[in-house]
Amino acid sequence: EPEVTQTPSHQVTQMGQEVILRCVPISNHLYFYWYRQILGQKVEFLVSFYNNEISEKSEIFDDQFSVERPDGSNFTLKIRSTKLEDSAMYFCASSEVQGGISPLHFGNGTRLTVT
């Protein structure tokens, strides 16, 4: 069964550094998302992306965050200047269509640790 793949599985970075988290969504999916889960907290929505632009973003997704689909397969999340509170599990997801209930398929996540 096709799956969403994320790399790296674990990223350690120093405060103030830039990180790029990478995702390869399922190939025929058109909608892409980033979610995160801080340890002990809920999974929370960051951003949705369709047709090469952001559809919606949460208040967490401030100017330090950006997303890009640089080619036909990758979908990236960049954090320009990481803060300690950015430490979390970041999940990429994709879905096939809009309308009806097209479930989001999640990757296994990237654990980001900011020191």
């Binding site: 969403v4 994320q6 909608y31 998302y33 979610y35 907290q41 809920k42 999974v43 929370e44 929505f45 949705s48 369709y50 559809s55 919606e56 949460s58 999940f91 997801a93 879905s95 809009q98 309308g99 209930i101 097209s102 479930p103 989001l104 398929h105 999640f106 990757g107 296994n108 996540g109």
Partner: protein, 115 residues
């Protein structure tokens, strides 16, 4: 964000019995609801969904019930198997013109099925 709540942090069930996981929500504008299962070190895996216009959806051993007047949904797993042991998340979406795929998650319930 308390719009989706799973009030039971954990549930323990004997193999072969029914598992009932509960979820409450406050936003009557949610259009659809989904249940996800999550194993450690993996991303959430889609289980089953239900539209707000339905009150029941069944898929094999999994049935989701929606009670709109009570703003409550539940996931029934019959019969429960040890491999069902995981964290179960309730998620809701489609509220008030938000983009598709912006899901609000509950905090999860840890299900343990004993052999």
């Amino acid at each position: 964000d308390q719009q989706v709540k799973q009030n039971s942090p954990s549930l323990s069930v004997q193999e072969g019995r029914i598992s009932i996981l509960n979820c409450d929500y406050t936003n009557s504008m949610f259009d659809y609801f989904l249940w996800y299962k999550k194993y450690p070190a993996e991303g959430p895996t889609f289980l089953i969904s239900i539209s707000s216009i339905k009150d029941k959806n069944e898929d094999g051993r999994f049935t989701v019930f929606l009670n709109k007047s009570a703003k409550h949904l539940s996931l029934h797993i019959v019969p429960s198997q040890p491999g069902d042991s995981a964290v179960y998340f309730c998620a809701a979406g489609g509220a008030g013109g938000t983009s598709y795929g912006k899901l609000t998650f509950g905090q999860g319930t840890i299900l343990t099925v004993h052999p």
